[in-house]
Subunit: 189 residues, 2 copies
């Protein structure tokens, strides 16, 4: 998505060879019209796939998931995070490792919110190591639902999370796939 690549170049901050900040329009401040345009683009890419539910994880995935859900006219579910895994028969839950926070967290979704007949599109802002997406895909599987695919704003291709998920046969659409952040410069596929 050309407009997203331009916005990353103009407003993104390359903090290190692995960290890109997009706090001005996606992760801390949100540009509503722009996130709406991204949601429409992801909805277009999955048009005809009969998505019945959009799934993301709090917090920074919510904005893009919401606009994608608006465009697809489907409900949006965001998995919640909690510290300790308590056994709970009412939720699907799984453990994911946060590289940003260097800790494992549990994410969970109430069983009432995903059904076996659902066709689920997973949305997130970033794809790096793929831990959050792996966890969300696990929840879709626990529910016996169909995973239609994944929609991502920014994929850090060099961190290989996408590769691992694609090998499992999961379709991934990234609006801005980045091959390198070396030398303070953003390189796109």
């Amino acid at each position: 998505m050309r407009s997203l690549q331009e916005k990353i170049i103009n407003e993104g901050q390359v903090i290190s060879d692995t960290i890109l900040k997009v706090d001005s329009f996606l992760n801390h401040q949100i540009d509503p019209e722009f996130v709406m345009a991204m949601g429409r683009e992801l909805a277009n890419r999955y048009a005809g796939e009969e998505v019945t539910k959009v799934l993301t994880v709090e917090a920074s995935g919510i904005a893009l998931a919401l606009t994608t859900g608006l465009a697809l006219k489907t409900p949006v579910v965001f998995a919640k995070k909690k510290k300790a895994a308590t056994q709970d028969s009412q939720t699907y839950s799984t453990k994911i490792f946060s590289f940003t926070r260097q800790e494992a967290v549990d994410i969970y979704v109430n069983k009432k919110l995903i059904h076996a007949r659902d066709r689920v599109l997973i949305i997130d802002d970033f794809l790096a190591h793929g831990e959050a997406l792996r966890g969300l895909a696990d929840i879709v599987e626990q529910a016996g639902a169909t995973l239609v695919g994944v929609g991502i704003a920014i994929e850090k291709v060099f961190q290989n999370g996408g590769q691992a998920l694609r090998k499992k046969g999961i379709r991934i659409e990234s609006l801005a796939p980045i091959t390198s952040l070396s030398g303070g410069r953003v390189s796109f596929v």
Copy 2:
């Protein structure tokens, strides 16, 4: 907002005399069209106030803040939460107490994202004790910006957070003000 009151009656779960769950359309699953309608309503109530920025706090305020920002055509900023208060010259931060989690958390906003000339509308999903709103208002004050008012989906009037904020002269618009959850029944103003 009549449609919100109806949705609360039809889909809300009264867990106790103080706890109402609206996980089916606002706090866990989101009904995008409905949250868009709520955002439009809040934008209408603040029309003419020349709002330049919508401010909320992660995670469950993000959806309503985003749709309000879409309707007002303004950027949306969500304050982030963190565990420990580290001194940081780049952020405005304040401590709030979460009654849900029974712990104090720090919320912070990068100083680049709110300016003295901003006219800020604070948005959140719930108003109970008013801790989150008090913290967000504090951040607006630290930035030297103007607080135009507060927009809330559901106010639990009986928990008095709104009363304290109104006494300080802060305008609060609640789409569904609830006077009681006693006996498993939702009573509106």
